[in-house]
C-alpha cells in the first residue's frame, strides 16, 4: 500500500513538473507572439507631415551651443530621433544610433530631439555620451511632427523632404526607415502589405 502511494506520488510530481514547464513555455510563446503581431517595420502614425512632403522649417538652438536647421536643404540627410531621458527603449537604441551614425556618416546626420528642462537634458546628454551629436529641445518640433509615443524617428532627405518616419523600438525598425528611403516607399509596412495584397509573396523577408 505504502509502495503504491510512493509510486503514485512520484508519478504525480513528474506530471506536475512537466505541466509547469509547458505552462511556462506557453506563457513565453504568448509573450513573443504579442511582440511579433505588432506591425513589422517602424509603425507609422498617420498624422503630421506626410512622406514626400517638405518638412516644416525649424532653426533651433542646440544644447552645448550652435544651431540646427531642421527641414532645410542640406548636404546630408537628417535623422530626427525624438527621445526622453525617462524612456528605457530610447536608451537601448542609443548605442545602435551611435554605430549607425559612424557607419553612415557619409550621407546621414543624426539629430536628437526632445523637450523639457534644459538642465536635465544637458546632464542626460553628458551621461549618455551624446555630446558629439546635435541635441535640440523644442516642444514645437515634436508637435509639428505629431510625435505621440517615444522613441520616434523621422528621416529627412537632403532637400528637407520627409522620407520615412515612425515609432521605432528596435534596430530592425530603425533600419526599416532607411530601407523605406532606399526603396522609395512610404513605409516598409505598406510595402509588405502591398506585396501580400498583390499575391506576390515571393522574395519577402529580405
Amino acid at each position: 500500500m505504502i509502495d503504491a502511494l510512493a509510486v503514485s506520488n512520484a508519478i504525480l510530481w513528474v506530471v506536475v513538473l512537466a505541466l509547469l514547464v509547458a505552462v511556462f513555455a506557453l506563457a513565453r510563446q504568448v509573450g513573443i507572439l504579442y511582440e511579433r503581431i505588432a506591425p513589422m517595420g517602424a509603425l507609422m502614425i498617420d498624422s503630421g507631415p506626410a512622406v514626400g512632403e517638405t518638412a516644416p522649417r525649424f532653426d533651433l538652438p542646440a544644447l552645448g551651443g550652435g544651431g540646427v536647421a531642421v527641414g532645410a536643404a542640406a548636404e546630408r540627410s537628417q535623422l530626427l530621433f525624438f527621445l526622453s531621458p525617462s524612456c528605457p527603449v530610447c536608451k537601448k537604441l542609443l548605442p545602435i544610433l551611435k554605430s549607425i551614425a559612424a557607419a553612415e556618416s557619409a550621407w546621414l546626420r543624426i539629430v536628437f530631439a526632445s523637450d523639457g528642462e534644459a538642465e536635465e537634458h544637458a546632464a542626460f546628454r553628458r551621461r549618455a555620451a551624446l555630446t558629439d551629436f546635435p541635441y535640440v529641445l523644442s516642444a514645437e518640433l515634436g508637435m509639428a511632427f505629431r510625435v505621440g509615443k517615444l522613441p520616434y524617428a523621422v528621416l529627412l532627405d537632403e532637400a528637407g523632404r520627409v522620407r520615412a518616419k515612425g515609432l521605432v523600438n528596435s534596430r530592425e525598425q530603425l533600419e526599416s526607415l532607411f530601407t523605406a528611403k532606399e526603396m522609395n516607399v512610404v513605409s516598409v509596412q505598406e510595402f509588405v502589405t502591398g506585396q501580400a495584397g498583390a499575391g506576390q509573396g515571393t522574395g519577402m523577408g529580405t
Binding site: 506520488n9 510530481w13 513538473l17 505552462v23 511556462f24 504579442y34 528605457p88
Partner: protein
C-alpha cells in the same frame, strides 16, 4: 507560530535561494542595464545608481548563499527580507508616483518587465516564504520520499514563480497591442 512539516521550511528556503541566486546572476550578466533600471526608479542621485546596483546584487547573492546551510538560514532569511522590503518599497513608491512604465530591473525575460502591483504581491509572497523558512519543524522522521518531495516541490514552486513573472511581463505587451 505553529510547527510546520519539516519539508516545508526547507522547500521555502531552497526556493528563495534559487530565486535570489538566479536574480543576482541575471543582474550581473547585464549590470549596465540593471544600473540604468535603478536610475529610472529616481530614488537616488544618478551617480549612486551603479554602486546601488552592485549593493543590491551583492545582497541578493549573499542572501541566496546564506539561505542554503541550516546554520546560517536565519541570517539569510533576514537579509532576504531586507532586500525584498527595500526593492518592494522602491516599486511601490514609483507606482504611487504613476511611473509604472519603467523597467523593473528584475532581470526577467529580456528585462522587459514593467512595474505593477502584481510585482508587489509577488515580493510579499516571497517575503512570506522567507518567514516560513524559519518556522519551527514538527518532529517527524524524514524518509527517502521526503527527498523527492523537497526537490520536486522546490522545482514546482520555482516553475510557478517563473510562469507568473512571464505573465506579468506579457501584460504591457498585450495592452500595447490593444492600443
Amino acid at each position: 507560530m505553529d510547527a510546520l512539516d519539516p519539508t516545508l521550511p526547507h522547500m521555502f528556503a531552497a526556493l528563495l535561494a534559487i530565486v535570489f541566486l538566479g536574480g543576482a546572476w541575471q543582474k550581473l550578466r547585464d549590470l549596465d542595464g540593471f544600473a540604468m533600471a535603478v536610475e529610472q526608479y529616481r530614488l537616488l542621485p544618478t551617480s549612486w545608481a551603479l554602486p546601488a546596483a552592485w549593493g543590491i546584487l551583492a545582497a541578493e547573492a549573499v542572501a541566496g548563499l546564506l539561505l542554503l546551510p541550516l546554520a546560517t538560514r536565519i541570517a539569510g532569511a533576514a537579509l532576504a527580507l531586507a532586500v525584498l522590503a527595500a526593492v518592494t518599497l522602491a516599486v511601490a513608491i514609483n507606482l504611487l508616483r504613476g511611473r509604472h512604465a519603467i523597467d523593473c530591473g528584475c532581470g526577467g525575460p529580456e528585462g522587459g518587465q514593467h512595474l505593477s502591483w502584481g510585482l508587489v504581491l509577488r515580493n510579499v509572497l516571497l517575503g512570506l516564504a522567507a518567514v516560513l523558512s524559519l518556522a519551527a519543524e514538527a518532529p517527524r522522521e524524514l524518509v527517502w520520499l521526503d527527498g523527492l518531495t523537497l526537490v520536486a516541490g522546490t522545482l514546482a514552486l520555482y516553475g510557478i514563480y517563473a510562469a507568473a513573472n512571464q505573465l506579468m511581463a506579457n501584460r504591457p505587451r498585450l495592452l500595447n497591442l490593444k492600443g
